[in-house]
Structures are given as C-alpha cells and as structure tokens.
C-alpha cells in the first residue's frame, strides 16, 4: 500500500544523526518523515552519558553554529560539566558534559514533535525504493510504502547487529532492541559495499551498592560558556558528581584467567574495534605492565541509580564481569544492573559517498552517522545535520554545503570519511585537524553561522545577535591594536606592579597582550578606556590577538590548500582517457571520484605527478570546451 501523503525527505533512524537530519530538513522547508524502530528510543545514549571533550565539543559547537540541536539539548539536560585542556591553549579547550539520559531523550523528542513539517512514526524499514535514476521512497515491515524525493539512512549499529556477552551471542540493534536485517540485505542488493565493525559498552551498576568513600570525587565545575550560542547564563540546576576508582592486580588476574571465554580473543568477533575505546580485557592484554586502570563512575541521571563504569567496557561472560567489578575497591558489594557487551554491525564503506553524504550509486540516497563507520554521538549528529542540509538543498535547488577542512571539524570528518575511508570506528580527534588553531570552539559561530543563516537554519533574531557579537570582536580587536602605550613613568610603574617587563618604546595594547605573562584581564589597569564587553567577546578577542602570529601562519597554509580545493573535477570525467596516469593512481581516482583536485591530492597512494597530470588534463579539457564554444558562436 502506498501512503497517501508524499514527502520530500525520509530519515531512517532517530538517533543523533537522524534527529539532526530531520530537523535540518524540516527547518529548511521540506516535508519530512522520521522513521524509528522504537519511538521511546529517540536520541538514546546507549553507551556513555558523556558528551563533548576535545574535538567532540568542537563538533557540537559547530552543529550549534549551523543551527543544529545537540548543543541546546545538552545545555537543557546536563548533570555535570567541565572545561578540559585549560592550560593547553585556546584551540584545544573543550567542554565536556554528562547528561541525564532520559531527560536528554525527552527534550529532543519534544523538540522534534514541536517542529513544523516533521512527521515522526514508529516503523522498521525493509527496503529502499528507487527507479532507474533516483531514490523514490521506502517500504516498511508492515507493507506500507512511503514516497519521497530523498532518503537519509541513519541506522546506527542496527544493520545485522550482533551482541556478544561471553559465550553468548544474539542478534540485536542495541542492548534490548531488535536489529534491522532486511535493510542491510537491501543495501547489499542495491550494490553497496558493506564492512563490519565492533564496539562495546561497560556494565552499569546500582549506586545504592557502591562505597563512594573509596573513590576520588570529581565535582562539576562552573564553566564560562554553554554548548549552545542560544543558551543564556547556565542556571543552578542540580549537579551530580563523578568518582574515580581503579582496577588492581586482582581485577587483572580475573580477566586474564578468563580470556579463553572472551569472544574477542576466541575469534568469534570478526569486526574491527576502536583503538581509542578498548575493552578492559584488551587493555590488560596489551599493557601487561600497568598495575591499574582508571574507572570513572558516572551517574546516568537524576532519577535513576544506574552508574556507568567508564573504562570497564567488556564482552566477558557476565559472571566474570561481576567478579571483576567486585575486585575493585569500593565496588565489593556492587550489584550489576546491566552487563557490558560488544556489538558487531555492518557499515557502509564511506568512500562510496560524495562530500555531501549522498551515495555515488543512487541519487537522492544519503547516509549519516555510525552507518558510515564513525563512532560517537557528536560525529553522528554532525553528519546528520550535513546530510539533512544537503538533501534539502538538492530539493530546493540550492548549492550543496561542503565544509572545508579549514572551516570546521565537520569538514575534516566528512573529508576523511569520503576520501580515505576508515578501518575502525572513526572518532574525531583534534590531531586530525591540520588547521587546529583556527578551528576553536570559541569561534564556531564566526566560522559557520553565516552559512547556517543562508540555508535558513538560523532565525533572524539569532542572526542579528551574532552580527553584533562579530562586530564587537572586530571593534575591540582594532581598538587594542590602535591604542598606543608610551613608556611614561606611570606606565612603567603599572607594568612593574604586574610583574611584567618595562617598555623600551611605545607599543600598542595588543603588543602588551601578546606577552606570554599577560591576559586581557591583567592589562585592565593599563587600559583606561576599556568598554564593558560580554565574556565570550573578550575571550575571542584575546585569543585572536595573543596567537595572531600562529593563526596567520595557518591562514597562509589555508590559502594554499583552498586553491587546490577550488579546482573542481567534473563529475563525468573519464579517467581512462587521461594518458600518463599511473595505473594505481587511475584505479584510486576511479574508485573515489574526487570532487576537487584538493580532495584528489589527499587520496592515499596518489603521487604528486598524478595530481599534476590531472591538473594539466583538466586545463586541456577546459580550453577545448572554450574553443568549441568560440567556434559555435
């Protein structure tokens, strides 16, 4: 049966990718349908309750700057927050929050349900429908066919999901949920190349059975800025503390003695797991000299006594997990509420995607999130909003939104996926970003809000506030650069009081601020005409000035990089027609089909000579086309 109403865009899956994709699509004016296997699992956080941290907080700030929802939703629901990396430089500082899992879900569901043009339905998609040219809709388990012009698949770990706990394995999408078998078969049938990955989660224990006095407490902090630019000053909602405990020799012995029962070591798990998130059995085997490993105890919410044991991810049999937990000082009497598990799932090799996240194989079909080989809520949400924007842009006949590596972590994420692919669950790291100094969480709006506004994702009033903030930063930066300080007796005295070097000649306030021992606040006495500015404006101005030299150096590199990026490769290019390409280079180019010379230059195994040959060929084609046109006109 074909459903009477037809949509512009259908989103499959209502996890973090699906929610952002559906909201972006609907906000851009598209009639959108969001399908989920279980309406009670919208925006579920199946693993950690922690969001953010280096590179991940950056992603959240960028999603927010583009008009996405994740940042706002964290600000509504967090129970614990800290600013990490304060001493390591402004670009790598990062917020990290723990949220109330249920509250997070409820808030997101409420936001979705308040969104115009967005229908939300519970259904399991069995088949993606398409004609010879493009996608046409989906068919669900109950037989109904929904028509649409674009489909975004954000199926997470549900494709052929298989959970392992010790010697037991069973099909599941996540703990306690049914997997999606039909869709995985269907994607293979359509001609997609799927790979297999593995991830895992630790056991949850009952807070009432923990001896917290044995742990080191870690309180939530007061942080200067929220995740979202739309959030006002953070209110005094109740905070929950974390505790730090440790494994010991006995824990490790229990694990070692039971390795033969681990599906990871017996070879039953075939998928590749993430190196940055190893299970405790992996850590014990790989680092045998370490006498202890950290465990963070995190409360999963205000109204639950479930506690997440960060650092104790495991797929050992449940009895071994219990024994291992009990060996930890403070957890001797702990009751397990859910066992840890490993899950294997199918993913779509992401080199099959264009940088818009549209599949190269089927027009109008997009994929986003864990299905593309990433891990992490933030990585998923980032792809979700990009797929949503690009699918909607295609329908509205707007240019696609492709973020450059120099513009956003989102740009690095998408480019890495579609150009290099991934062999393990891909996690964003600040060290993946070559222009890290200019991709700060503090300037995410300066980098992206203009774009979000252009695509209709930023409401007018928010945009006006942004313009004012941008102007304030520009004006204050200019003022600090123009205000001169002369080496008068009074200035020298003030500098001495600050414990800073005397002036040799007249300098600007900006020069003083660049001294390593100086901050904006410390220079107040030297700056009598200082205007009163919001803290976020001050911190951005301060960073721009203090690190000006380094920032400029990166910006010069960016100019070089963008020149290659702006040399586009036509979609219909025939690589077999280019003489002189190396055989390997030709194969790689045919496989990846880069959109620009810049993207081509990042394909592993392509030599600089191949790139030069490609440039020359493109130029030849351009000239030929030009002559053709001259002749005909």
């Amino acid at each position: 049966m074909v459903y009477e109403k037809s949509y512009d865009i259908i989103v499959i899956g209502a996890g973090h990718a699906g929610c952002e994709a559906a909201l972006a699509s609907a906000r851009m004016g598209c009639a959108t349908l969001l399908l989920t296997i279980n309406l009670d699992s919208i925006a579920l956080l199946p693993c950690n309750c922690s969001i953010g941290g280096p590179a991940k907080a950056h992603l959240v700030r960028e999603i927010d700057a583009l008009g996405g929802e994740m940042g706002r939703n964290i600000d509504k629901s967090f129970t614990h927050i800290r600013m990490l990396n304060l001493s390591k430089g402004p670009a790598v500082q990062a917020l990290r929050a723990q949220v109330d899992k249920k509250y997070y879900q409820m808030e997101m569901k409420h936001t979705l349900e308040s969104q115009d043009r967005l229908d939300i339905k519970q259904a399991m998609v069995e088949e993606i429908l398409c004609d010879e040219t493009a996608v046409t809709g989906v068919r669900v388990q109950t037989g109904i066919e929904y028509r649409s012009r674009a489909v975004i698949v954000a199926a997470g770990t549900f494709l052929e999901g298989l959970i392992h706990i010790g010697e037991t394995s069973f099909p599941a999408g996540r703990g306690g949920e049914v997997p999606s078998i039909g869709l995985a078969q269907n994607l293979k049938y359509l001609g997609f190349n799927l790979g297999r990955l593995k991830t895992g989660t630790p056991p949850r224990i009952d807070a009432r059975t923990i001896d917290f006095s044995q742990g080191k407490i870690q309180e939530s902090e007061d942080v200067p800025l929220p995740f979202s630019y739309t959030t006002g000053p953070i209110s005094g909602r109740g905070r929950l503390s974390c505790w730090l405990m440790e494994t010991n020799e006995q824990t490790h012995r229990i694990i070692r003695d039971n390795l033969h029962r681990s599906p990871l070591f017996s070879g039953r798990i075939k998928g590749t797991g993430p190196r940055y998130c190893p299970s405790i059995e992996d850590k014990v085997v790989r680092f045998p000299d370490k006498e202890r490993h950290q465990i963070f105890l995190e409360r999963e919410g205000w109204k639950t006594s479930e506690v997440y044991l960060q650092g104790l991810s495991s797929s050992l049999p449940e009895d071994v997990q219990i024994a291992a937990v009990h060996s930890v000082k403070g957890l001797e009497k702990a009751e397990l509420m859910r066992p840890g598990y490993a899950i294997e799932y199918d993913f779509l090799l992401p080199v099959q995607l264009f940088p818009t996240l549209e599949t190269k194989l089927i027009k109008g079909l997009y994929t986003a999130g864990q299905i593309n080989g990433t891990s992490g809520y933030e990585e998923a949400a980032a792809q979700g909003i990009m797929a949503g924007i690009n699918a909607a842009a295609a329908i509205k006949e707007l240019p696609p939104l492709i973020l450059l590596r120099s513009e956003a972590y989102i740009g690095v994420l998408v480019d890495d996926l579609v150009t290099k692919g991934t062999e393990e669950p891909y996690r964003m790291l600040t060290s993946r970003a070559e222009y890290r100094l200019i991709l700060r969480q503090g300037n995410a709006d300066l980098r992206l809000t203009e774009k979000g506004y252009r695509y209709g994702l930023i409401p007018e009033d928010r945009y006006q506030r942004f313009v004012i903030r941008r102007e304030m930063i520009e004006l204050e930066t200019a003022r600090l650069k123009e205000t001169r300080l002369r080496p008068t007796g009074q200035v020298q005295r003030l500098l001495r009081d600050l414990g800073s070097e005397r002036l040799g000649k007249a300098v600007s306030l900006a020069d003083i601020l660049k001294r390593p021992d100086m901050t904006y606040r410390r220079t107040a006495t030297l700056d009598k005409d200082r205007p009163s500015l919001p803290p976020d404006v001050i911190s951005e101005t301060e960073t721009e000035i203090k690190y000006e030299g380094y920032i400029e150096k990166q910006q010069q590199q960016v100019v070089q990089y963008q020149r290659l990026e702006s040399r586009l490769v036509p979609e219909e290019i025939d690589y077999d027609a280019i003489p002189s390409l190396s055989r390997e280079g030709r194969e790689k180019l045919k496989n990846i089909r880069p959109v620009s010379v810049g993207q081509a230059s990042r394909i592993a195994g392509l030599t600089p000579a191949d790139i030069t040959i490609l440039i020359v060929y493109l130029e030849q084609q351009r000239l030929q086309a030009l002559r053709q046109r001259e002749k005909t006109s």
Binding site: G89, T430, P608
Partner: protein, 459 residues
Amino acid sequence: MERDTIAAVSTPPGEGALAIIRISGPGAIKIARSLFRAGSAGIVEKFESHRVYYGFILDLKDGKKIDEVFLTALLAPRSYTREDMIEISAHGGMQPVRQILQQALSAGARLAEPGEFTKRAFLNGRLDLAQAEAVMSVIKSRTEAGLKSAVSQLRGFLSRDIEELRREIIGLLALMEAEIDFPEDVEISEVYDKALDKVQGLIRKLDDLIASADRGRILQDGAALAIVGKPNVGKSSLLNRLLREARAIVTEIPGTTRDVLEAMVNIGGVPVRAFDTAGIRATTDMVERIGVERAREVILQADILLLVLDGSQPLTEEDCVLAVECAQKRTILVINKADLPPAVNEEALAEMMPGTPLLRISSLTGEGVTALEAEIAAILLGGEIVLERITVANIRQVEALVRATAALRTGREAILCGQPAEITAVDLHDAADALGEITGETTTDDVIDRIFSDFCIGK
C-alpha cells in the same frame, strides 16, 4: 597564474662546460636582484627583458662571489612559462651550480617539481593544446627518473637516520597530542618538562645530519681531492696524468699555477673532483699569494689530500711544514719524479706522518700512477671517509632537513616562552612533515597510530 616562484638546474646533471639555472614566477626578478651583481654596475635595479647581463652571483650569507655568470631576464609574458623568468648561465662545475641554486632557494624560491616549468608553460597558455599530452608524459617520465635516483640516494644511512629522527619527533608529538585529545585518560605529567630536552637533542642530531649530508656529496658530486705540495714538484703534471689529458699548464717555472684548478675524474669508479692547487710557499708576489691562500682553503675542504714531493730533491723546511698541515687529513704521500735518481729521505717522512701510505710515481712516464689510483679508490670506497657515513643527499633533501631544524628551533622558543602545548605541537608537526617529505610519509596518521600504541587510552 601560480603564486610562488620556482627554481631548478635545467641542464642535465653531471659535469659540463656550462650549466643553466632557471627561476620562474612572480619573485624571480627580486631574487635576481638580491643574488646578482653586474660586472660594472653592481646591483641591477631594473632588469630589461631579453637582455643578457654579465656579472657575479653572490653568497647571501657572506657576500662572497660564487661564480662568474651571464644572466638573462625574460619578463612576463615573453618567456617560456609566461611568468617572469631569470636564466643564469654558470660554469658547469657541480659545486658552483649547486651553490647558486641554493642561494636562489634561500632568497625565496622553491625547488621545482619534475616537469614544473613545462606545466606552467602549458597552464599559462604558452603551449599548444595538442602539446598537453606531451606535457603529461614529460611529467611522468621525469618523475619516474627522479624516483629512481631518489630511491638510490635514500639507500644507506641517510634514510635510516631521518626515519629515526622522524620517529622521535612523532613520539614526542604523540605524547603531547595524547594529552590534548585524551586529557582524562592519559596520566602524563612530565611531558612538558621532558619536551625541552628532547627538542634540544633532536636539533643537535639534525644539525649533525645536515653536516654529514654535506659530507655525503661524495657519491653524487664526487669526493674532493686536493693535490698539494711546494712549487714545481709536479702537481699539475700529476693532474694531467689523472685526467689523461693536458688541462693544467705545465712549465718548468715554479709557481705557474696561480689559482686552484678543478677537474672531474673517475678514479676506480668513484667520481672525484680533483683540485690542483698553487704550490704553497712564502711569496711576495700578490697574485701568487692569493693562490696560496686559496690552496689552503681547498686543503681544509678536501676529503683526501695528495701531498706531492720531488723525489729527486732532499726534503726542505717547506715540505715539513706542509706535512704537518696535511697530517690533519686523510693523506697519500706521493713521491714524484721517480724517473730521476732518488734523494728524498723517506724514513724521515714516515716518522713525520706515521701510517700514511707512500707511493713512488713518475708523472712524466706514468710509472706508478695506476697504483696511486688504486690507493685513492681504496681509501674513498673502503676507508673511513665513506664508511663513516654514506649520506648522499640532494638539495631537496637537505632543504627539508634545514626546514625541519628551523621548525624545531621555533618549537624550542615556544617551549621556553611558556606557550601552550597546541602551539609547540604546530612546530613539531612542521618538523615531522618536513622529514616526512623525504621519507614519503604523512604525519597525522602516524601520530594517531603512535598515540594508541604508546598509551592505554579508553573510556
């Protein structure tokens, strides 16, 4: 239009009478202005297009003349690449050519990629459309040739040393990056204190490597061999013997050779740059004195010395002074004029220079020359000069090494100024990238791999 300026030697490698260095791009004229002094007028403020200038290329560091050249300016668009171009026609000795190119690079040019002049000519519309395919195949073949020689150059110690240094930098970076990306997982506190020591150590090692890379010119440019001795012992005739042609002027008049002559010879398969020096003696003749000074410079730079003595004469004070000077270097004692009755005291020589090989030859008849050649080759190939470290580096590689050191020095500054980790990491990254250009590896993935293999990270 490209925005940077490129430079390269356009004549084939090896010894030729002349060599041409080409510079192309918006900075070409500026570079010429800083390097070139016209024979008569000094600095040329404004180069006219298609005019040949006679003059000298200077060393930017000390202002010394490197070579006497003809320089042609070709202003855009009337040049091969349609950019501003400078063509420097220099003497074909490898040393001056290499030096001129290096000067152009330090003045702001970048070493051209294989086929890049042709690529620019094409992209700027200079070549016909039909020639595009030829351009592509030129790029391909030059790259392949370049790769082959790069591979052979990378054999041996250089690649191993560079890879080791690179690995050290990556290790240090991994430490910093792990702290940045996993602040709650990694328990490292002493990273930053150790970083300074490590960077210092790395700078020292790189400096050594650059010095030895320079020594490693041997296989590429040839080992430097200086023929020294007091006047009229037959140095020039020995050079002619080695060359199997008359290149140096030979007369009976002491002090005929006023300057240092350079010639390329193949001795037992080893390319050797042989320098015939002025006879070293105290002299009042101005010109001859300059020659003697330059001879002393050559001795300092040579890889191996041939100290030539007249076997038909007893040892003089001058011979003994020279022997002491030569004792600093790898030397072969050459007793010339074996065709005449011997008068030299060989035992006294052996005492003065213990362990130094001594050979009797006659450059007049050729007697003993083959044995001398065998000895030279043996020392160069099997001796400690080469065994010490065969580091054959081309300009591109040395340039990358220099850039890596410069980045590390900036990094050291950053640490000393108390800059945060992310700033220091930028410099370390630059250093690793520069070395990676030589070994053909990329930094980012290696750092990430290293983080996971070195540290136990996990949520």
